[in-house]
């Protein structure tokens, strides 16, 4: 049994997570069986039980795994962006992608994003905090370098931006991307440095 929080970069673990996203998006949480997940991951059901106690454990780990991936990508994307506009686009890029698309555009998005996440608020708030930290640090750097002016503290502003994105994260995915683009233009103006 591998530690569900550590994600020791076990390729098998990764494969299970990817498989789980696929089948959860296809059937929703309730109708997905451990057999489905195992099959999609190319292993037998008992083998899957060696990695996860039960379906809820798979789901919780999936959330953590997803947050980790998003945060890493966010960190990486921001590391090479020093302009407000470019940074905002990097944020949106990190918070979208084929996985979000799959879940958001599936008929089970509500079950998964709604109930699913509220039932696991502990993990989610942890993941959200990580995103806030990364974004706040980058905003502070922009502020210090005179490349941006913030309406309040860097952390507050980071929370605001992430909340805004959460608000527009609704299907269909294509619309969400469009709204992200519009929001970029708005925020870029609001955050640009006062001359």
């Amino acid at each position: 049994m591998v530690d569900a929080k550590g994600f020791s970069s076990d390729p098998r673990q990764e494969k299970i997570m990817a498989a789980a996203v696929t089948v959860f998006a296809a059937y929703g949480y309730r109708r997905t069986s451990m057999e489905d997940i195992a099959k999609a991951a190319g292993m037998s059901r008992p083998a899957l039980y060696q990695y996860f106690r039960n379906k809820q454990d798979v789901f919780r780990s999936l959330i953590a795994w997803f947050y980790k991936a998003v945060t890493e990508q966010l960190e990486q994307a921001l590391a090479q962006e020093h302009t407000v506009d470019g940074g905002l686009r990097a944020i949106f890029g990190a918070l979208s992608g084929p996985m979000i698309e799959a879940v958001l555009d599936s008929p089970h998005g509500e079950e998964i994003f709604g109930e699913g996440l509220s039932e696991n608020a502990d993990i989610c708030s942890q993941g959200e905090a990580a995103k806030v930290t990364v974004l706040a640090r980058w905003l502070q750097e922009r502020l210090d370098a005179g490349q941006a002016s913030l309406p309040s503290s860097a952390e507050d502003t980071a929370r605001l931006i992430l909340a805004l994105i959460a608000g527009i994260k609704k299907p269909p995915y294509a619309e969400y991307v469009r709204r992200c683009d519009q929001l970029t233009s708005l925020l870029a103006l609001g955050l640009s440095p006062r001359r």
Copy 2:
């Protein structure tokens, strides 16, 4: 119990069919329960059993209902089209629509279109025959009016066109529509009258 083939325009019956499409597209045939269908149709499960013997009966009736709707729409659309190009577009219009889109773009399209239809070949061939008849009559009229030249008999040509469409009916739906458009251009040229 209402005759499953007659479709006595009972609004309840129609509601069940529409509900069934929705849930089959969402969960696939296997994972859809009678409870799901009943709920989506706004009635209790026992009430649903008054209209259909079991899930397979719902599905078979759904196929028949769908063929009926398509054939009617095809007939109606062709009635006002007297040009080859316009007629072809009418055909494609009748053979697409939100219902096809829902099933085709769902992750369960293969289960439903593949297994689902081959298990009910009897009903399908009946529905196909109806489409052929309608289309063949229209083609014959165009031929008689000197508005088209056909490569073989009207019925043969009708079968050919419908087979071509069946061939390009693959997800994603947007691509299917695009292929339909391309096919229109091709066929319009091939069927235009020899001068």
